[in-house]
Symmetry: C2
Subunit: 214 residues, 2 copies
DNA sequence: TAGATTGTTAATCGATTAACAATC
DNA sequence: TAGATTGTTAATCGATTAACAATC
């Protein structure tokens, strides 16, 4: 019997993609608890979502469930990790070894999701040469050459807003294709550059929801 | 001439609320640059959004624009900050003085948005009594009494997932009404408790978008 | 068999976008 | 005046939810 269906990552909506990690978290926990099969209904309950939404979302991963039973936990984890591309290693560097940057260097959860941070960069000479959580800090002067020689295509930006666009342009010129932007400004891909994706991580928007709705 | 219209925070959609901080960021920058009036079109360009979306969003803040000209920068900042309730101080504590927790303690940007972190809590006796960025770390044993005596209604959770629900329940019993949840699990409000809002801040969902779409 | 769940197709809901009159 | 922009009302689009046959 078939376990998986072909997947089409482009057809998945953004809201769906954003919910998948929560499903994976729940299903991994279930696996750790020794659960063998799990229904969409159970996952929905855990996350306070509608069962139909969970089923629709899981469908994009290509998983095939069993009516009356649910999904095989092991297969569902495989399907989710594969769809998210978390079953392969993504090599990244952190640019900006400030509070947030060093915190992210110590964030062990990333490793579980295929994200491997191999270096950090900072302009502060006092930080260069130091290691945070085992990851060495290099001078920003070496950034471009490092990215090129190591073939890094993903960078995590935790630098001050006023230098963010400059660094963004620089790393794109060095071949970076994905930028995880933790700065407070919206970064723009320079004209003529294609295939670059910038994801803004916005702490203030979550705080806005709390503060307006509370 | 009227500058503002009455506002209704409950009528604003979640996507709109989440975009407002980005507008505020742009308009504050414009003010710093000496700009006196700014059009929705200009803001839209800066954030790569549609002008109509910016106008619709700004309307919820009660700001009244001038056709042909745009919005008075000073008034727009006032309207955005007031709508977001960022013009008053929100007292909060950080629970969990690990990597992320201490990074947030040093996050000066919060202060600009009315968020005032007055204490941190941790179970690690080695951390208790220490100060991070001027904020003292207390023992988790003192958490409930501290929250009650200081009337804290907002907490920031940066603790391990396996203790998160327990602490969540505890702080709600101590009168907390808003929880900014940085843990990887979905927290639930205990039955019978009302008026509690939990906002999950999910790093992995942003990473999922990058990794699927890149 | 009875009943719970999957997965598809259709309906609904809400957010985004378009159109356009009003305005300075 | 001409033209750009606001703000309202209407249309469109896409995501969520509902309905239900298929399945074990």
């Amino acid at each position: 019997m078939k376990k998986f269906r072909p997947i089409d990552r482009m057809s998945a909506s953004l809201p769906t993609i954003r919910r998948l990690p929560a499903y994976l978290q729940v299903v991994r926990q279930a696996e750790a608890d020794g659960v063998v099969v799990i229904s969409g209904t159970t996952i929905a309950q855990e996350l306070e979502l509608e069962p139909i939404q969970v089923r629709k979302d899981l469908a994009v991963t290509g998983i095939i469930g069993k009516p009356r039973v649910g999904y095989v936990v092991k297969d569902l984890i495989t399907a989710l990790e594969h769809f998210l591309r978390w079953d392969v290693t993504h090599t990244a560097v952190v640019i900006g070894a400030g509070h947030l940057g060093t915190a992210l260097l110590g964030h062990t959860e990333f490793r579980k999701n295929g994200l491997n941070v191999i270096a950090a960069f900072d302009t502060d000479v006092a930080k260069v040469g130091k290691r945070f959580h085992g990851i060495e800090v290099f001078s920003t002067d070496e950034l471009s050459s490092y990215l090129t020689t190591h073939g890094v295509t993903l960078v995590i930006l935790t630098i001050p807003a006023h230098v963010a666009q400059e660094i963004c342009t620089k790393v794109i010129e060095a071949g970076v294709k994905a930028i995880w932007n933790f700065t407070s400004i919206k970064l723009k891909v320079p004209e003529g550059q294609t295939g670059v994706l910038i994801q803004k991580e916005d702490l203030s928007s979550g705080y806005a929801v709390l503060s307006v709705r509370a």
